[in-house]
């Protein structure tokens, strides 16, 4: 038997050599080498099978070997003659071929990491390939082209190196990699996904901060009018006494209110400094580009996520297999988490088995329906209640703001109420959701949707109440505007009457009566909301997680029941709640950044600290989730929420920009009818006349309406195309399913047919049998081996009668072993590679090992 195997081996090597010489010419082809390895691994079963074949076959084989040797000889001779020819001609053809080979080698080098080889083998192959490229690359190109070619090659090499170095640099620049990895190893990929999201958010905010800080705040501070030079940049006389008190500063009043952090500080001077920097224009454009950039980034990330998830998740074909093969999270490095994971995998196995057994069993559908309706009614009541509460509180705060001497609670009532609602409503929802008895995954979606609705409702009620406030301020402003005018007029008039020769001493900016500046008020409102949100989050973590963990850990020694396993236990890390909190915070930043340019700076600080703080809190006082969810699918869900929030926060800002009149005495747009007038002004004054003309044409409704129509049509068309693709996809899927079913049926039929008749069939028409039978038996002989090499193996090892006439095509040898799924469908891939009438002695239903 051994002898036979050896014999087979040499035979194969012959073929390998032939293949090499035909196409590799100079050196061994790595792909055929790989095949060799594959062959070795599956040599055993196949050779055993070969033993079974008759001795006659052996003779045939020897014949064939002889033949192939002859062929080999012929090849060699041919090559020799060709070589001499080449030496004489040195034709272009050869160069081309060499070039091709070099390209091939290069491709091999770049794809080598994809091969499942050992490192030692990869190293040798790589070195060989590199030496080959090195050797022949220089020889390519001739005459004038040679230098250029060499230069090109060199640049390509440099470029590759540069790219690699740049990649290395990039990965070095990613912050907190180790921190996140540590969390990942303790809690699995889902908790880590929150931190990755946080990091992403930090990056986005850093860019926004750079935009606002670099293009708005710094120019105004450096080149604008200094502090105290004009009314909008000075604290009014009445407030000056307390402007530096901490309690005042804490409320973002006093000096902070009149600083570059808020809208009101900016001057409406068209150009500032020696650079002639157009600040109002810059302010406007930055405000818009904050939204533009965020939109682009969010959508790009979403698209990339969608691209990455290649598998169609709703495919129900492989529920069990996926649970089996993909449910372990290899990142888990903590035994405790691993135990949780074991438990959750077991329950999911059991659940799915039960589901499979009794999929359509529902004991009391009416009761369940009633409970679900009841739960939804309760939750809608909660939402309405919280909305009304916020409206009520904001209204109340407006009356408070008119009163003097109000306490700390009255001043911060809105923020406190909103934070408390955000803290207590989600657990309430969860309790109510227990009524519904959904599957946890669906339950989580519902819960997220409800929390989202709560936050959104609260935010919009807050905005509506704020709008009321703004409208009130606008009417108030009209009155003050007149007063200011009169004061200034009277002042100058009186001084003009008294002393006509001197220009009057300018009125002190602190004394000028001024309007309420609603933009700054809105900005302050947002900043306060953000800050209180930060504080509440941190305090919740500190009390709810850390103190609880301390209590459980240390009081456990002297308590009547087991605290760790029993009632309080440790807190779990609430991924969805944290992500939603982050998303809403970001919505507030987007809305507020137009009125308070400093808000983004605060947010950057917040994200930075919360990265460290939450990492610490998670590691020190949280336990892994009971049910460890995977993060991959929910990523785009969160991104979708973020996009929605971005859109919703764009609306109020766009509304104020386009339709509300800006305050007359503060901010970069003071004195204009609308904030957007700044664009028109710039175009008229700074651009040549024809640009203004073009702009007016473009802004013409006659052009805009067709443009919108066109876009709508484009959307419609793309939608239709996408639908068609989806349809085609579904169709293909159906086809595959049908094919699979057919296969199944075929197998089942075959299994039931009488063995004896099969034998008869085999005996009578050995060559008429299609690839199906062959594949069947090959599969049984050496199952698990790669199909391609397997088919070839059976070629090489066990050639049948027909094989003598048909030498195995060389394709089979150099064919890469990486067979796609198609190859597993029998009768398709194999029929081309295996000769007809293979192994007449073996029977279908009978494995030959």
């Amino acid at each position: 038997m051994k002898v036979k195997a050896k014999y087979l081996k040499t035979y194969q090597n012959f073929h390998v050599k032939i293949g090499m010489e035909v196409d590799g010419q100079v050196q061994s082809d790595p792909e055929s080498e790989e095949d060799e390895e594959e062959e070795e691994t599956i040599q055993r079963p196949c050779s055993r099978e070969a033993i079974k074949s008759s001795g006659q076959e052996k003779n045939q084989q020897t014949k064939e070997v002889d033949e192939s040797e002859e062929e080999d000889e012929i090849f060699r001779r041919k090559r020799l003659t060709r070589k001499t020819n080449r030496r004489v001609k040195n034709s272009e053809e050869e160069l081309e071929r060499l070039k091709e080979q070099v390209e091939e080698k290069k491709k091999l080098i770049s794809t080598m990491r994809n091969k499942p080889w050992r490192m030692a083998k990869k190293l040798t192959v790589l070195r060989e390939a590199q030496a080959f490229v090195e050797k022949f690359e220089g020889a390519l190109g001739k005459g004038k082209g040679k230098k250029f070619y060499a230069y090109k090659v060199m640049m390509a090499k440099k470029w590759v190196k540069f790219k690699r170095d740049f990649d290395n640099f990039k990965t070095q620049c990613i912050p907190w990699e180790m921190k996140i990895k540590e969390v990942e190893s303790h809690f699995g990929s889902s908790v880590a996904s929150y931190f990755i999201f946080l990091r992403w958010m930090y990056g986005v905010n850093l860019v926004l901060f750079g935009l606002i800080f670099g293009l708005v705040i710094i120019p105004e501070v450096l080149m604008g009018m200094p502090y105290g030079s004009m009314p909008r940049k000075t604290v009014p006389r009445a407030e000056q006494a307390t402007a530096m008190d901490f309690s005042v500063l804490w409320d973002f009043e006093g000096y902070i209110k009149y600083s570059a952090l808020f809208y009101g500080y900016y001057n409406n001077q068209r150009t500032i400094g020696w650079l002639k920097y157009r600040l109002p224009m810059a302010y406007f454009m930055v405000g818009i580009s904050v939204f533009g950039y965020s939109l682009v980034v969010v959508i790009r990330t979403m698209a990339r996520n969608a691209n990455e998830s290649t598998g169609d998740g709703d495919d129900n074909d492989f529920i069990f297999s996926w649970k089996m093969f993909t449910s372990w999270d290899y990142l888990i490095g903590n035994p405790e988490t691993a135990d949780n994971k074991f438990a959750s995998i077991t329950t999911s196995f059991k659940e799915s088995i039960v589901d499979e057994q009794e999929s359509n069993k529902d004991e009391n559908i009416h009761l369940r329906r009633f409970l679900r309706v009841l739960a939804n009614v309760l939750i809608i009541c909660c939402l309405c209640g919280s909305g009304y509460l916020i409206y009520f509180v904001v209204k109340r705060s407006q009356t408070f703001s008119k009163m003097q001497n109000i306490g700390w609670y009255e001043r911060n009532e809105v923020e406190i109420v909103m934070s408390l609602l955000g803290m207590f409503c989600p657990p309430l929802f969860e309790t109510i959701a227990a009524l519904e008895n959904y599957h946890p995954r669906i339950g989580l979606k519902w819960q997220l949707g409800r929390i989202f609705a709560l936050f959104l409702g609260n935010l919009y009620t807050f905005l509506l109440a704020l709008m009321d406030d703004v409208n009130e301020k606008l009417t108030e402003e009209d009155v003050i505007k007149n007063i200011t005018h009169w004061t200034l007029l009277n002042y100058y008039n009186s001084s003009a009457v008294n002393n006509s020769t001197f220009s009057p001493p300018p009125i002190d900016p602190a004394d000028v009566p001024r309007g309420p500046c609603w933009e700054t008020t809105v900005g302050i409102e947002f900043v306060r909301l953000t800050v209180s949100d930060i504080l509440v989050t941190y305090i919740t973590i500190l009390v709810g997680d850390f103190l609880r963990a301390c209590f459980v850990r240390f009081m456990n020694y002297c308590w009547c029941w087991d605290l760790e396993a029993g009632f309080p236990s440790y807190a779990e890390f609430d991924i969805s709640g944290n992500v939603l909190g982050l998303i809403f915070n970001q919505g507030m930043i987007w809305m507020g950044s137009f009125y308070a340019p400093g808000l983004v700076g605060i947010n950057v600080l917040r994200l930075l600290t919360s990265m460290y703080f939450q990492c610490w809190a998670v590691m020190s006082s949280n336990v892994p989730h009971e049910r460890v969810f995977k993060a991959s699918k929910s990523n785009n869900f969160y991104m979708g929420l973020l996009l929605l929030i971005l859109f919703l926060s764009l609306l109020p800002v766009a509304y104020t920009i386009m339709s509300l009149p800006p305050s007359f005495d503060c901010g970069p747009f003071s004195g204009k009818k609308k904030m957007s007038d700044v664009i028109q002004e710039t175009i008229e004054l700074d651009f040549p006349a024809f640009v203004a003309k073009i702009f007016s044409y473009v802004a013409n409704p006659g052009l805009i309406i067709p443009a919108i129509l066109l876009m709508v049509l484009a959307i419609y068309y793309l939608n239709a195309v996408a639908e068609a693709y989806q349809h085609a996809n579904a169709e293909l899927k159906k086809k595959m399913q049908v094919q699979r079913e057919e296969e199944k049926n075929k197998r089942n039929n075959k299994a039931t047919t009488n063995l004896a008749t099969q034998d008869l069939e085999d005996f009578l028409t050995p060559s008429a049998k299609s690839g199906d039978t062959k594949s069947d038996s090959t599969n049984k002989n050496s199952p698990g081996a790669k199909e391609g090499s397997m088919a070839k193996n059976s070629n090489a090892a066990c050639p049948g009668r027909g094989a003598t006439m048909v030498p195995p095509p060389h394709v089979t040898i150099t064919q890469p072993p990486r067979q796609s799924i198609k190859a597993s469908s029998p009768g398709q891939a194999r029929s081309g590679t295996s000769p007809q009438g293979l192994r007449p002695g073996t029977r279908k239903g009978q494995p030959c090992n």
Binding site: M112, P116, A120, S321, T326, E356, Q357, E743
Partner: protein
């Protein structure tokens, strides 16, 4: 990197970068971690040193992994079958488990890891072993025999396309390639 004599030579480092899905930093970290596993006297020839299996499985990344022994077996190049890892084996392993690796190579190695008896196919015995690995050793989490049978039956019904009672590599890869979260969880990061 500590600047000791035991750092990776630069040309080899380049080749490793070419041949694995790892970046330079990752290779250096791997080198550092590996050298911590090697006994002191062998530190100066790390590239030829081998770390025995029971040391490798003490790595925090592998400690809780139920497939630790299989992983060592699959990636080991030791001739005597003691599943010890050389530095290059270690790199091979990290490359397959890295973020950048394609799901094709990941699934290839996943198959080999799940193939407990190394016969090139997943049969009932392998699947049983796999389920036991996934459900842990605790009594409460083990599946009963009937559940196990049911489960394996279901899996074979789903994935065993050619109905030979076992799952071969291409069938396995077919199943895995449709899975949405295989590539994101088949990861080990140092």
């Amino acid at each position: 990197m500590g600047g000791s004599a035991s750092s990776v030579p630069p040309d080899l480092l380049g080749e490793y970068q070419e041949l694995t899905f790892l970046t330079k930093q990752e290779i250096l970290i791997a080198h550092k971690r590996f050298s911590e596993l090697v006994p002191k006297e062998e530190r100066d020839q790390i590239l030829s040193a081998r770390v025995p299996k029971d040391k490798v499985v003490t790595l925090p990344e592998l400690r809780a992994n139920p497939f630790q022994h299989r992983i060592c077996r699959v990636f080991s190049t030791a001739e005597d079958g003691d599943d010890s890892l050389s530095f290059e084996d270690f790199l091979d392993m990290l490359s397959v488990f890295s973020d950048a690796a394609t799901s094709e190579i990941k699934s290839h190695y996943a198959f080999r890891i799940f193939d407990f008896d190394d016969d090139g196919t997943l049969d009932r015995k392998d699947l049983e072993n796999l389920v036991n690995c996934l459900t842990g050793d605790a009594d409460g989490t083990r599946l009963s025999t009937s559940e196990m049978d049911q489960l394996i039956q279901n899996i074979l019904e789903e994935s065993d396309i050619d109905k030979d009672g076992t799952i071969n590599l291409s069938e396995f890869q077919h199943v895995i390639s449709r899975s949405p979260d295989f590539a994101s969880s088949f990861k080990i990061v140092l």
